[in-house]
Amino acid sequence: MTEPKLSIVDLTKRYAAGLEPAVDRLNMEVEEGHLVALLGPSGCGKTTTLRMVAGLMDPTAGSIVVDGKEITHTPVNKRGMGMVFQSYALFPHMNVEQNVAFGLEMRQTPKSEQKARVAAALDMVQLGHLGKRQTKELSGGQQQRIALARALVVEPTLLLLDEPLSNLDAKLRETMRTEIRSIQQRTRATTLFVTHDQDEALDMADRIAVMNGGLIEQFGSPTDVYERPRTHFVANFIGQANFLTARVGAETGGASLAGESYYKVDVEGLGQFGAVGAAGLSGSTHEMVIRPHRLTVALRPGADQTPVAGTIERVSYTGDALAVAVRVGDQQLQAQLLTSSGDLPRTGDAAYLSWAPEDAYLLPATTSAERLAA
Protein backbone atom coordinates (compact mmCIF):
# COMPACT_ATOMS: atom_id res chain seq x y z
CA MET A 1 0.00 0.00 0.00
CA THR A 2 1.31 3.43 -0.87
CA GLU A 3 1.88 6.00 1.82
CA PRO A 4 -1.23 8.07 2.57
CA LYS A 5 -1.17 11.74 1.62
CA LEU A 6 -2.56 12.76 4.98
CA SER A 7 -2.77 10.88 8.21
CA ILE A 8 -4.38 12.19 11.31
CA VAL A 9 -3.44 10.42 14.51
CA ASP A 10 -5.40 10.74 17.74
CA LEU A 11 -6.19 14.34 16.96
CA THR A 12 -7.91 16.00 19.92
CA LYS A 13 -9.12 19.51 20.59
CA ARG A 14 -10.38 20.73 23.90
CA TYR A 15 -11.35 24.40 23.76
CA ALA A 16 -10.98 24.84 27.49
CA ALA A 17 -10.00 22.61 30.35
CA GLY A 18 -13.11 21.01 31.75
CA LEU A 19 -15.06 21.22 28.51
CA GLU A 20 -15.92 18.09 26.55
CA PRO A 21 -13.46 17.78 23.69
CA ALA A 22 -14.78 19.26 20.42
CA VAL A 23 -12.70 16.68 18.55
CA ASP A 24 -11.88 13.45 20.33
CA ARG A 25 -8.94 11.21 19.36
CA LEU A 26 -9.68 11.35 15.70
CA ASN A 27 -7.87 9.01 13.31
CA MET A 28 -8.00 9.13 9.56
CA GLU A 29 -5.89 8.34 6.52
CA VAL A 30 -6.47 10.02 3.20
CA GLU A 31 -5.13 8.70 -0.09
CA GLU A 32 -3.51 10.99 -2.62
CA GLY A 33 -6.07 12.51 -4.97
CA HIS A 34 -9.08 11.55 -2.89
CA LEU A 35 -11.88 13.84 -1.90
CA VAL A 36 -12.89 13.12 1.67
CA ALA A 37 -16.08 14.55 3.07
CA LEU A 38 -16.34 15.32 6.78
CA LEU A 39 -20.03 14.82 7.32
CA GLY A 40 -21.99 15.34 10.49
CA PRO A 41 -24.58 17.40 12.29
CA SER A 42 -23.94 20.94 13.46
CA GLY A 43 -21.40 21.23 16.25
CA CYS A 44 -19.86 17.79 15.76
CA GLY A 45 -16.37 19.20 15.25
CA LYS A 46 -15.98 19.30 11.46
CA THR A 47 -14.75 22.87 11.29
CA THR A 48 -12.49 22.33 14.26
CA THR A 49 -10.87 19.36 12.55
CA LEU A 50 -10.40 21.24 9.31
CA ARG A 51 -8.88 24.27 11.02
CA MET A 52 -6.41 22.07 12.87
CA VAL A 53 -5.33 20.48 9.60
CA ALA A 54 -5.03 23.95 8.05
CA GLY A 55 -2.95 25.10 11.02
CA LEU A 56 -5.36 27.82 12.03
CA MET A 57 -5.80 26.15 15.38
CA ASP A 58 -3.45 24.20 17.61
CA PRO A 59 -4.57 20.70 18.53
CA THR A 60 -4.66 19.82 22.20
CA ALA A 61 -3.14 16.44 21.42
CA GLY A 62 -2.38 14.15 18.51
CA SER A 63 -0.55 14.70 15.29
CA ILE A 64 -1.06 15.53 11.65
CA VAL A 65 1.22 13.97 9.04
CA VAL A 66 1.35 15.07 5.41
CA ASP A 67 3.51 13.21 2.88
CA GLY A 68 5.19 11.41 5.74
CA LYS A 69 6.24 14.61 7.45
CA GLU A 70 4.73 15.63 10.75
CA ILE A 71 3.31 19.14 10.45
CA THR A 72 1.44 19.37 13.74
CA HIS A 73 3.51 22.34 14.84
CA THR A 74 4.28 23.89 11.48
CA PRO A 75 2.88 27.45 11.41
CA VAL A 76 -0.17 27.90 9.21
CA ASN A 77 1.62 30.07 6.66
CA LYS A 78 4.30 27.44 6.10
CA ARG A 79 1.93 24.55 5.38
CA GLY A 80 1.12 25.36 1.76
CA MET A 81 -2.55 24.49 2.06
CA GLY A 82 -5.40 25.91 0.04
CA MET A 83 -8.61 26.70 1.85
CA VAL A 84 -12.07 27.85 0.83
CA PHE A 85 -14.23 29.36 3.55
CA GLN A 86 -17.96 29.27 4.00
CA SER A 87 -18.08 33.05 3.53
CA TYR A 88 -15.49 32.77 0.72
CA ALA A 89 -13.31 35.31 2.56
CA LEU A 90 -12.31 37.12 -0.61
CA PHE A 91 -10.23 40.20 0.17
CA PRO A 92 -12.73 43.03 -0.31
CA HIS A 93 -10.10 45.63 -1.17
CA MET A 94 -8.53 43.65 -4.02
CA ASN A 95 -9.91 42.81 -7.43
CA VAL A 96 -10.34 39.26 -8.66
CA GLU A 97 -6.83 38.91 -10.13
CA GLN A 98 -5.17 40.36 -7.04
CA ASN A 99 -7.11 37.96 -4.88
CA VAL A 100 -6.02 34.95 -6.88
CA ALA A 101 -2.44 36.18 -7.11
CA PHE A 102 -2.08 36.70 -3.35
CA GLY A 103 -0.79 33.22 -2.55
CA LEU A 104 1.71 33.34 -5.42
CA GLU A 105 2.88 36.73 -4.23
CA MET A 106 3.53 35.27 -0.79
CA ARG A 107 5.61 32.58 -2.47
CA GLN A 108 7.51 35.24 -4.40
CA THR A 109 6.68 33.67 -7.71
CA PRO A 110 8.06 35.77 -10.59
CA LYS A 111 5.54 38.31 -11.89
CA SER A 112 5.26 36.82 -15.37
CA GLU A 113 4.63 33.36 -14.02
CA GLN A 114 2.08 34.76 -11.57
CA LYS A 115 0.20 36.29 -14.46
CA ALA A 116 0.10 33.09 -16.42
CA ARG A 117 -0.96 30.97 -13.48
CA VAL A 118 -3.64 33.39 -12.35
CA ALA A 119 -5.04 33.42 -15.88
CA ALA A 120 -4.98 29.63 -16.03
CA ALA A 121 -6.69 29.33 -12.65
CA LEU A 122 -9.41 31.79 -13.64
CA ASP A 123 -9.94 29.93 -16.90
CA MET A 124 -10.27 26.72 -14.99
CA VAL A 125 -13.23 28.15 -13.04
CA GLN A 126 -14.51 29.73 -16.28
CA LEU A 127 -14.13 33.28 -15.03
CA GLY A 128 -11.15 34.37 -17.13
CA HIS A 129 -13.09 37.41 -18.32
CA LEU A 130 -13.71 38.81 -14.82
CA GLY A 131 -10.12 39.36 -13.72
CA LYS A 132 -10.43 43.10 -13.26
CA ARG A 133 -13.75 43.02 -11.40
CA GLN A 134 -14.09 44.03 -7.78
CA THR A 135 -15.11 41.07 -5.67
CA LYS A 136 -18.31 42.67 -4.40
CA GLU A 137 -19.53 42.97 -7.97
CA LEU A 138 -19.70 39.19 -8.24
CA SER A 139 -22.56 36.80 -7.59
CA GLY A 140 -22.31 34.21 -4.84
CA GLY A 141 -21.45 31.43 -7.27
CA GLN A 142 -18.79 33.53 -8.94
CA GLN A 143 -17.24 34.50 -5.60
CA GLN A 144 -17.21 30.84 -4.73
CA ARG A 145 -15.30 29.99 -7.90
CA ILE A 146 -12.80 32.80 -7.32
CA ALA A 147 -12.20 31.47 -3.83
CA LEU A 148 -11.60 28.04 -5.33
CA ALA A 149 -9.22 29.45 -7.94
CA ARG A 150 -7.35 31.34 -5.24
CA ALA A 151 -6.91 28.16 -3.23
CA LEU A 152 -5.91 26.01 -6.19
CA VAL A 153 -3.52 28.38 -7.94
CA VAL A 154 -0.82 27.73 -5.36
CA GLU A 155 -1.02 23.99 -6.06
CA PRO A 156 -1.73 23.27 -2.43
CA THR A 157 -0.61 20.16 -0.59
CA LEU A 158 -4.21 19.79 0.54
CA LEU A 159 -7.36 21.55 -0.52
CA LEU A 160 -9.61 22.32 2.44
CA LEU A 161 -13.22 23.33 1.91
CA ASP A 162 -15.46 24.39 4.80
CA GLU A 163 -19.10 24.14 3.76
CA PRO A 164 -18.32 25.92 0.51
CA LEU A 165 -21.81 25.44 -0.88
CA SER A 166 -23.97 26.36 2.07
CA ASN A 167 -24.36 30.01 1.07
CA LEU A 168 -25.66 29.19 -2.41
CA ASP A 169 -29.24 28.57 -3.45
CA ALA A 170 -30.35 25.01 -4.11
CA LYS A 171 -30.01 25.10 -7.91
CA LEU A 172 -26.57 26.65 -7.95
CA ARG A 173 -25.45 24.29 -5.24
CA GLU A 174 -25.97 21.32 -7.54
CA THR A 175 -24.09 22.95 -10.41
CA MET A 176 -21.18 23.93 -8.18
CA ARG A 177 -21.14 20.45 -6.72
CA THR A 178 -20.40 18.88 -10.07
CA GLU A 179 -18.04 21.65 -11.00
CA ILE A 180 -15.96 21.41 -7.83
CA ARG A 181 -15.83 17.65 -8.18
CA SER A 182 -14.65 17.79 -11.77
CA ILE A 183 -12.02 20.44 -11.04
CA GLN A 184 -10.84 18.39 -8.10
CA GLN A 185 -10.54 15.29 -10.26
CA ARG A 186 -8.71 17.20 -12.99
CA THR A 187 -6.20 18.75 -10.59
CA ARG A 188 -6.06 15.60 -8.47
CA ALA A 189 -5.90 17.82 -5.41
CA THR A 190 -6.28 15.81 -2.23
CA THR A 191 -9.28 17.42 -0.64
CA LEU A 192 -11.03 17.63 2.72
CA PHE A 193 -14.57 18.82 2.33
CA VAL A 194 -16.74 19.79 5.28
CA THR A 195 -20.48 19.49 4.86
CA HIS A 196 -23.58 18.66 6.81
CA ASP A 197 -25.45 17.73 3.64
CA GLN A 198 -25.47 13.97 3.10
CA ASP A 199 -26.41 14.23 -0.59
CA GLU A 200 -23.40 16.43 -1.20
CA ALA A 201 -21.13 13.98 0.58
CA LEU A 202 -22.51 10.89 -1.16
CA ASP A 203 -22.35 12.57 -4.54
CA MET A 204 -18.88 14.10 -4.37
CA ALA A 205 -16.71 12.13 -2.02
CA ASP A 206 -14.37 9.20 -2.49
CA ARG A 207 -14.53 8.66 1.24
CA ILE A 208 -16.89 9.95 3.87
CA ALA A 209 -16.01 10.46 7.51
CA VAL A 210 -19.27 10.53 9.43
CA MET A 211 -18.70 12.53 12.60
CA ASN A 212 -20.77 12.79 15.73
CA GLY A 213 -19.92 14.54 18.97
CA GLY A 214 -16.23 14.91 18.13
CA LEU A 215 -15.84 11.26 17.11
CA ILE A 216 -15.66 9.61 13.73
CA GLU A 217 -18.49 7.10 13.69
CA GLN A 218 -17.50 5.62 10.38
CA PHE A 219 -14.95 6.24 7.68
CA GLY A 220 -15.61 4.63 4.33
CA SER A 221 -16.78 4.93 0.75
CA PRO A 222 -20.23 6.38 0.06
CA THR A 223 -21.68 2.91 -0.58
CA ASP A 224 -20.09 1.61 2.61
CA VAL A 225 -21.60 4.21 4.84
CA TYR A 226 -24.96 3.93 3.15
CA GLU A 227 -25.25 0.18 2.71
CA ARG A 228 -23.21 -1.00 5.63
CA PRO A 229 -23.49 1.57 8.41
CA ARG A 230 -21.51 0.65 11.46
CA THR A 231 -23.71 2.40 13.96
CA HIS A 232 -27.26 3.45 14.57
CA PHE A 233 -26.19 7.06 14.21
CA VAL A 234 -24.68 6.53 10.76
CA ALA A 235 -27.67 4.57 9.51
CA ASN A 236 -30.00 7.24 10.81
CA PHE A 237 -27.98 10.25 9.64
CA ILE A 238 -27.38 9.05 6.09
CA GLY A 239 -30.62 8.40 4.30
CA GLN A 240 -33.69 7.17 6.10
CA ALA A 241 -33.85 3.92 8.02
CA ASN A 242 -36.21 1.59 9.82
CA PHE A 243 -34.72 0.01 12.91
CA LEU A 244 -35.89 -3.33 14.23
CA THR A 245 -34.52 -5.16 17.20
CA ALA A 246 -33.52 -8.67 16.13
CA ARG A 247 -32.44 -11.75 18.01
CA VAL A 248 -29.86 -13.30 15.73
CA GLY A 249 -30.18 -17.03 15.26
CA ALA A 250 -28.05 -19.48 13.38
CA GLU A 251 -26.11 -18.70 10.22
CA THR A 252 -27.99 -20.00 7.24
CA GLY A 253 -24.86 -20.63 5.26
CA GLY A 254 -23.38 -18.92 2.24
CA ALA A 255 -21.86 -15.48 2.14
CA SER A 256 -22.78 -12.30 0.38
CA LEU A 257 -20.43 -10.75 -2.19
CA ALA A 258 -18.97 -8.49 0.49
CA GLY A 259 -18.18 -11.56 2.59
CA GLU A 260 -20.99 -11.18 5.08
CA SER A 261 -22.92 -14.01 6.63
CA TYR A 262 -26.59 -14.77 6.26
CA TYR A 263 -28.57 -15.25 9.45
CA LYS A 264 -31.98 -16.27 10.53
CA VAL A 265 -33.29 -13.58 12.87
CA ASP A 266 -36.27 -13.31 15.15
CA VAL A 267 -38.02 -9.95 15.43
CA GLU A 268 -40.37 -9.84 18.36
CA GLY A 269 -43.97 -9.48 17.29
CA LEU A 270 -43.20 -9.77 13.59
CA GLY A 271 -41.77 -13.21 13.07
CA GLN A 272 -38.67 -14.76 11.56
CA PHE A 273 -36.70 -13.31 8.66
CA GLY A 274 -33.44 -13.57 6.80
CA ALA A 275 -30.76 -10.90 7.28
CA VAL A 276 -27.09 -10.24 6.60
CA GLY A 277 -24.34 -9.05 8.90
CA ALA A 278 -20.74 -9.47 9.94
CA ALA A 279 -19.57 -12.91 10.96
CA GLY A 280 -20.14 -14.19 14.47
CA LEU A 281 -23.30 -12.37 15.48
CA SER A 282 -25.28 -15.51 16.32
CA GLY A 283 -26.85 -15.69 19.72
CA SER A 284 -27.04 -12.01 20.55
CA THR A 285 -29.44 -9.11 19.96
CA HIS A 286 -28.70 -6.57 17.27
CA GLU A 287 -30.33 -3.69 15.55
CA MET A 288 -31.49 -4.45 12.04
CA VAL A 289 -31.64 -1.66 9.47
CA ILE A 290 -33.95 -1.63 6.48
CA ARG A 291 -34.09 1.33 4.10
CA PRO A 292 -37.68 2.47 3.38
CA HIS A 293 -37.41 2.05 -0.38
CA ARG A 294 -36.15 -1.51 0.01
CA LEU A 295 -39.43 -2.51 1.60
CA THR A 296 -41.92 -3.96 -0.82
CA VAL A 297 -45.48 -2.88 -0.08
CA ALA A 298 -48.28 -5.05 -1.38
CA LEU A 299 -51.97 -4.43 -0.88
CA ARG A 300 -52.73 -8.17 -1.01
CA PRO A 301 -50.79 -10.96 0.62
CA GLY A 302 -48.24 -12.39 -1.83
CA ALA A 303 -47.06 -15.94 -2.11
CA ASP A 304 -43.30 -15.75 -2.49
CA GLN A 305 -42.03 -14.55 0.89
CA THR A 306 -43.35 -14.35 4.41
CA PRO A 307 -44.92 -10.92 4.41
CA VAL A 308 -45.59 -8.81 7.47
CA ALA A 309 -49.15 -7.64 7.69
CA GLY A 310 -49.97 -4.12 8.84
CA THR A 311 -52.23 -1.11 8.37
CA ILE A 312 -51.40 2.04 6.43
CA GLU A 313 -51.43 4.99 8.82
CA ARG A 314 -50.25 7.82 6.63
CA VAL A 315 -49.61 8.35 2.95
CA SER A 316 -47.65 11.25 1.62
CA TYR A 317 -47.66 11.87 -2.07
CA THR A 318 -44.83 13.83 -3.65
CA GLY A 319 -45.44 13.15 -7.30
CA ASP A 320 -42.63 10.80 -8.16
CA ALA A 321 -42.73 8.90 -4.94
CA LEU A 322 -45.09 7.83 -2.28
CA ALA A 323 -44.07 7.62 1.34
CA VAL A 324 -46.15 5.26 3.39
CA ALA A 325 -46.18 4.75 7.12
CA VAL A 326 -47.29 1.26 8.05
CA ARG A 327 -48.31 0.26 11.55
CA VAL A 328 -47.00 -3.20 12.38
CA GLY A 329 -47.65 -4.36 15.89
CA ASP A 330 -46.38 -1.60 18.15
CA GLN A 331 -44.03 -0.13 15.53
CA GLN A 332 -44.38 2.14 12.61
CA LEU A 333 -42.29 1.29 9.54
CA GLN A 334 -41.58 3.78 6.80
CA ALA A 335 -41.76 2.56 3.22
CA GLN A 336 -41.27 4.29 -0.04
CA LEU A 337 -42.50 3.37 -3.46
CA LEU A 338 -42.63 4.95 -6.85
CA THR A 339 -46.07 5.98 -7.97
CA SER A 340 -47.75 4.31 -10.89
CA SER A 341 -51.00 4.95 -12.67
CA GLY A 342 -52.63 2.08 -10.83
CA ASP A 343 -54.31 2.05 -7.47
CA LEU A 344 -52.82 4.25 -4.78
CA PRO A 345 -52.78 2.90 -1.26
CA ARG A 346 -54.95 4.84 1.15
CA THR A 347 -54.91 5.39 4.86
CA GLY A 348 -56.56 2.50 6.64
CA ASP A 349 -55.80 -0.06 3.92
CA ALA A 350 -54.16 -3.27 4.87
CA ALA A 351 -50.58 -3.59 3.64
CA TYR A 352 -48.16 -6.50 3.39
CA LEU A 353 -44.47 -5.71 3.77
CA SER A 354 -41.62 -7.87 2.61
CA TRP A 355 -37.90 -7.49 1.90
CA ALA A 356 -34.95 -9.42 0.64
CA PRO A 357 -32.50 -10.78 3.25
CA GLU A 358 -29.70 -8.70 1.63
CA ASP A 359 -31.66 -5.54 2.44
CA ALA A 360 -31.93 -6.28 6.14
CA TYR A 361 -28.59 -5.39 7.63
CA LEU A 362 -27.54 -6.23 11.16
CA LEU A 363 -25.50 -3.49 12.80
CA PRO A 364 -22.29 -4.64 14.49
CA ALA A 365 -22.56 -4.84 18.26
CA THR A 366 -21.45 -1.44 19.33
CA THR A 367 -24.02 1.28 19.19
CA SER A 368 -22.88 4.86 19.51
CA ALA A 369 -24.63 5.14 22.83
CA GLU A 370 -22.66 2.21 24.26
CA ARG A 371 -19.43 3.59 22.84
CA LEU A 372 -19.96 7.05 24.23
CA ALA A 373 -20.70 5.60 27.61
CA ALA A 374 -17.50 3.53 27.55
Binding site: M81, M83, H93
Partner: protein, 271 residues
Protein backbone atom coordinates in the same frame (compact mmCIF):
# COMPACT_ATOMS: atom_id res chain seq x y z
CA UNK B 1 -68.15 61.28 13.75
CA UNK B 2 -64.80 59.60 13.74
CA UNK B 3 -65.43 57.71 10.48
CA UNK B 4 -65.86 61.02 8.72
CA UNK B 5 -62.41 61.95 9.85
CA UNK B 6 -60.90 58.77 8.50
CA UNK B 7 -62.18 59.31 4.99
CA UNK B 8 -61.39 63.02 4.81
CA UNK B 9 -57.75 63.66 5.68
CA UNK B 10 -57.86 67.20 6.92
CA UNK B 11 -55.12 69.73 7.02
CA UNK B 12 -53.28 69.08 10.26
CA UNK B 13 -51.76 72.28 11.64
CA UNK B 14 -49.62 70.37 14.13
CA UNK B 15 -47.33 69.09 11.40
CA UNK B 16 -45.95 72.34 9.98
CA UNK B 17 -45.83 73.75 13.49
CA UNK B 18 -43.59 70.90 14.57
CA UNK B 19 -41.51 71.35 11.43
CA UNK B 20 -41.08 75.03 12.20
CA UNK B 21 -40.07 74.24 15.78
CA UNK B 22 -37.42 71.79 14.59
CA UNK B 23 -36.16 74.33 12.07
CA UNK B 24 -35.84 76.98 14.77
CA UNK B 25 -34.01 74.58 17.06
CA UNK B 26 -31.57 73.75 14.27
CA UNK B 27 -31.08 77.47 13.85
CA UNK B 28 -30.37 77.77 17.58
CA UNK B 29 -27.91 74.89 17.37
CA UNK B 30 -26.04 76.44 14.48
CA UNK B 31 -26.45 80.07 15.57
CA UNK B 32 -23.00 80.65 17.06
CA UNK B 33 -21.27 79.16 14.03
CA UNK B 34 -23.43 81.10 11.56
CA UNK B 35 -23.02 84.37 13.42
CA UNK B 36 -19.27 84.00 13.49
CA UNK B 37 -19.28 83.62 9.71
CA UNK B 38 -21.44 86.74 9.30
CA UNK B 39 -19.27 88.83 11.62
CA UNK B 40 -16.09 87.76 9.86
CA UNK B 41 -17.28 89.49 6.68
CA UNK B 42 -18.66 92.62 8.37
CA UNK B 43 -16.73 95.84 8.04
CA UNK B 44 -17.70 97.21 11.50
CA UNK B 45 -14.52 98.14 13.34
CA UNK B 46 -15.86 96.81 16.62
CA UNK B 47 -18.38 94.16 17.32
CA UNK B 48 -21.83 95.56 16.63
CA UNK B 49 -24.95 95.03 14.58
CA UNK B 50 -26.13 95.33 11.93
CA UNK B 51 -23.09 94.84 9.65
CA UNK B 52 -22.24 98.10 7.90
CA UNK B 53 -20.73 96.49 4.84
CA UNK B 54 -18.88 93.54 3.45
CA UNK B 55 -15.15 93.17 3.71
CA UNK B 56 -12.35 90.65 3.57
CA UNK B 57 -10.02 92.77 5.66
CA UNK B 58 -10.20 90.49 8.70
CA UNK B 59 -9.04 87.58 6.62
CA UNK B 60 -6.28 89.70 5.10
CA UNK B 61 -5.17 90.67 8.60
CA UNK B 62 -4.75 87.10 9.73
CA UNK B 63 -1.30 86.38 8.24
CA UNK B 64 0.04 89.48 9.98
CA UNK B 65 -1.24 88.42 13.39
CA UNK B 66 1.91 86.71 14.60
CA UNK B 67 0.21 85.30 17.71
CA UNK B 68 -2.33 83.49 15.56
CA UNK B 69 0.29 82.22 13.16
CA UNK B 70 2.45 81.00 16.03
CA UNK B 71 -0.51 79.34 17.67
CA UNK B 72 -1.54 77.75 14.39
CA UNK B 73 1.94 76.33 13.97
CA UNK B 74 2.03 74.91 17.50
CA UNK B 75 -1.44 73.43 17.20
CA UNK B 76 -0.74 71.85 13.83
CA UNK B 77 2.52 70.29 14.99
CA UNK B 78 0.88 69.00 18.16
CA UNK B 79 -2.20 67.66 16.41
CA UNK B 80 -0.23 65.86 13.70
CA UNK B 81 2.15 64.21 16.15
CA UNK B 82 -0.67 63.32 18.54
CA UNK B 83 -2.61 61.73 15.68
CA UNK B 84 0.35 59.62 14.62
CA UNK B 85 1.07 58.55 18.19
CA UNK B 86 -2.49 57.59 19.10
CA UNK B 87 -2.90 55.67 15.87
CA UNK B 88 0.29 53.77 16.64
CA UNK B 89 -0.89 53.08 20.20
CA UNK B 90 -4.61 52.69 19.62
CA UNK B 91 -4.89 50.53 16.51
CA UNK B 92 -2.80 47.63 17.89
CA UNK B 93 -4.64 47.87 21.21
CA UNK B 94 -8.00 47.71 19.44
CA UNK B 95 -6.70 44.74 17.47
CA UNK B 96 -5.80 42.94 20.70
CA UNK B 97 -9.18 43.79 22.21
CA UNK B 98 -11.10 42.44 19.23
CA UNK B 99 -9.05 39.49 18.05
CA UNK B 100 -7.90 37.94 21.31
CA UNK B 101 -9.63 36.56 24.33
CA UNK B 102 -8.25 37.27 27.75
CA UNK B 103 -9.61 37.58 31.23
CA UNK B 104 -9.30 41.31 31.84
CA UNK B 105 -10.58 42.21 28.39
CA UNK B 106 -13.67 44.15 29.45
CA UNK B 107 -11.70 46.00 32.09
CA UNK B 108 -8.92 46.90 29.66
CA UNK B 109 -11.43 48.17 27.16
CA UNK B 110 -13.14 50.36 29.74
CA UNK B 111 -9.73 51.62 30.80
CA UNK B 112 -8.93 52.71 27.26
CA UNK B 113 -12.23 54.58 26.99
CA UNK B 114 -12.14 56.04 30.51
CA UNK B 115 -10.27 59.31 29.82
CA UNK B 116 -13.50 60.53 28.22
CA UNK B 117 -15.19 60.12 31.59
CA UNK B 118 -12.79 62.41 33.41
CA UNK B 119 -13.41 66.17 33.29
CA UNK B 120 -10.66 67.72 31.25
CA UNK B 121 -10.05 70.40 33.86
CA UNK B 122 -9.18 67.69 36.38
CA UNK B 123 -6.90 65.93 33.92
CA UNK B 124 -5.31 69.23 33.03
CA UNK B 125 -4.54 70.04 36.65
CA UNK B 126 -3.04 66.59 37.18
CA UNK B 127 -0.86 67.07 34.14
CA UNK B 128 0.46 70.46 35.10
CA UNK B 129 1.20 69.16 38.59
CA UNK B 130 3.10 66.16 37.29
CA UNK B 131 4.76 67.78 34.29
CA UNK B 132 5.99 70.84 36.19
CA UNK B 133 8.68 69.10 38.24
CA UNK B 134 9.63 67.03 35.17
CA UNK B 135 10.23 70.16 33.11
CA UNK B 136 7.56 69.21 30.62
CA UNK B 137 5.36 72.26 31.01
CA UNK B 138 5.53 74.67 28.10
CA UNK B 139 7.05 72.02 25.86
CA UNK B 140 5.69 70.20 22.85
CA UNK B 141 6.24 66.95 24.70
CA UNK B 142 4.02 68.11 27.57
CA UNK B 143 1.11 69.15 25.36
CA UNK B 144 1.40 66.04 23.22
CA UNK B 145 1.44 63.64 26.17
CA UNK B 146 -1.54 65.51 27.57
CA UNK B 147 -3.50 65.16 24.36
CA UNK B 148 -2.75 61.45 23.96
CA UNK B 149 -4.99 60.63 26.92
CA UNK B 150 -8.05 62.37 25.53
CA UNK B 151 -7.69 61.23 21.91
CA UNK B 152 -6.89 57.53 22.38
CA UNK B 153 -10.52 56.62 23.21
CA UNK B 154 -11.74 57.87 19.84
CA UNK B 155 -9.20 55.80 17.90
CA UNK B 156 -9.93 52.72 19.98
CA UNK B 157 -13.65 53.12 19.55
CA UNK B 158 -13.75 53.68 15.80
CA UNK B 159 -11.18 50.96 15.15
CA UNK B 160 -13.06 48.50 17.33
CA UNK B 161 -16.21 49.31 15.46
CA UNK B 162 -14.54 48.57 12.14
CA UNK B 163 -12.98 45.39 13.48
CA UNK B 164 -16.28 44.15 14.84
CA UNK B 165 -17.90 44.30 11.43
CA UNK B 166 -15.11 42.56 9.52
CA UNK B 167 -14.96 38.89 8.74
CA UNK B 168 -11.95 37.30 10.41
CA UNK B 169 -11.89 34.57 7.81
CA UNK B 170 -10.22 37.01 5.40
CA UNK B 171 -7.25 37.06 7.74
CA UNK B 172 -7.35 33.29 8.10
CA UNK B 173 -7.44 32.98 4.31
CA UNK B 174 -4.35 35.16 3.98
CA UNK B 175 -2.48 33.14 6.57
CA UNK B 176 -3.32 29.86 4.87
CA UNK B 177 -2.05 31.38 1.63
CA UNK B 178 1.33 31.93 3.27
CA UNK B 179 1.27 35.40 4.79
CA UNK B 180 3.02 35.96 8.13
CA UNK B 181 1.35 38.00 10.89
CA UNK B 182 2.81 41.33 9.83
CA UNK B 183 1.90 40.77 6.19
CA UNK B 184 -1.62 39.81 7.16
CA UNK B 185 -1.94 43.02 9.13
CA UNK B 186 -0.47 45.23 6.41
CA UNK B 187 -2.09 43.63 3.39
CA UNK B 188 -5.45 42.47 4.75
CA UNK B 189 -6.48 43.71 8.21
CA UNK B 190 -5.39 47.31 7.84
CA UNK B 191 -7.01 47.86 4.43
CA UNK B 192 -10.24 46.34 5.71
CA UNK B 193 -10.43 48.41 8.89
CA UNK B 194 -9.14 51.51 7.11
CA UNK B 195 -12.43 53.43 7.51
CA UNK B 196 -12.31 53.12 11.28
CA UNK B 197 -8.65 54.01 11.41
CA UNK B 198 -9.12 57.08 9.23
CA UNK B 199 -12.17 58.21 11.18
CA UNK B 200 -10.32 57.72 14.48
CA UNK B 201 -7.30 59.55 13.10
CA UNK B 202 -9.11 62.64 11.89
CA UNK B 203 -11.23 62.81 15.03
CA UNK B 204 -8.07 62.58 17.13
CA UNK B 205 -6.57 65.33 14.98
CA UNK B 206 -9.47 67.72 15.44
CA UNK B 207 -9.89 66.97 19.14
CA UNK B 208 -6.22 67.73 19.71
CA UNK B 209 -6.25 70.73 17.38
CA UNK B 210 -9.27 72.28 19.13
CA UNK B 211 -8.32 71.29 22.68
CA UNK B 212 -8.05 74.30 24.96
CA UNK B 213 -8.11 73.31 28.63
CA UNK B 214 -5.12 70.99 28.85
CA UNK B 215 -3.09 73.27 26.59
CA UNK B 216 -4.04 76.23 28.75
CA UNK B 217 -2.84 74.57 31.96
CA UNK B 218 0.24 72.87 30.55
CA UNK B 219 1.61 75.50 28.20
CA UNK B 220 -0.21 78.83 28.49
CA UNK B 221 2.80 80.98 29.11
CA UNK B 222 5.43 79.31 26.99
CA UNK B 223 3.85 77.52 24.07
CA UNK B 224 0.27 78.65 23.57
CA UNK B 225 -1.72 76.64 21.06
CA UNK B 226 -4.20 78.27 18.72
CA UNK B 227 -7.28 77.70 20.91
CA UNK B 228 -5.38 79.24 23.83
CA UNK B 229 -4.48 82.26 21.70
CA UNK B 230 -8.11 82.61 20.61
CA UNK B 231 -9.24 82.32 24.22
CA UNK B 232 -6.92 85.11 25.29
CA UNK B 233 -7.84 87.27 22.32
CA UNK B 234 -11.57 86.86 22.90
CA UNK B 235 -11.15 87.83 26.54
CA UNK B 236 -9.30 90.98 25.73
CA UNK B 237 -10.45 92.53 22.47
CA UNK B 238 -13.62 92.93 20.53
CA UNK B 239 -12.59 93.21 16.88
CA UNK B 240 -13.56 90.69 14.26
CA UNK B 241 -10.14 89.35 13.36
CA UNK B 242 -10.81 86.42 15.65
CA UNK B 243 -14.07 85.80 13.78
CA UNK B 244 -12.14 85.29 10.57
CA UNK B 245 -9.83 82.91 12.38
CA UNK B 246 -12.82 81.10 13.84
CA UNK B 247 -14.23 80.60 10.36
CA UNK B 248 -10.97 78.93 9.37
CA UNK B 249 -11.25 76.65 12.40
CA UNK B 250 -14.86 75.86 11.53
CA UNK B 251 -13.84 74.97 7.99
CA UNK B 252 -11.17 72.61 9.28
CA UNK B 253 -13.78 70.96 11.52
CA UNK B 254 -16.15 70.77 8.59
CA UNK B 255 -13.51 68.95 6.55
CA UNK B 256 -13.12 66.46 9.39
CA UNK B 257 -16.88 66.03 9.62
CA UNK B 258 -17.11 65.32 5.90
CA UNK B 259 -14.30 62.76 6.02
CA UNK B 260 -15.77 60.94 9.03
CA UNK B 261 -19.27 60.98 7.56
CA UNK B 262 -17.95 59.57 4.30
CA UNK B 263 -15.79 56.80 5.73
CA UNK B 264 -17.97 55.47 8.52
CA UNK B 265 -20.78 57.83 9.44
CA UNK B 266 -20.50 60.57 12.04
CA UNK B 267 -23.14 59.10 14.30
CA UNK B 268 -21.50 55.72 14.45
CA UNK B 269 -18.06 57.20 15.04
CA UNK B 270 -19.09 59.50 17.87
CA UNK B 271 -21.54 57.31 19.70
Amino acid sequence: MSDVRIFKPRFNPAKPAFGLLVFLLYLFLLAPLLIVCVVSFASNQYLSFPPEGLTLKWYEMLPQESTFMEGMKVSLIVAVIVTLIVLALGVPAALALDRFDFKAKAAVQSFFLSPLLIPSIVLALGMVLLFGPLGLTNTYAGIIIGHVAITIPFVIRTTLMSLATTDTSCEAAARVLGADSWTVFRRVTLPIIQPGVIAGGVIAFIVSFDEAVISLFVAESGLPTLPVQVLRYVENSADAAVAALSVILILISLAVVVVVERVMGLRKALR
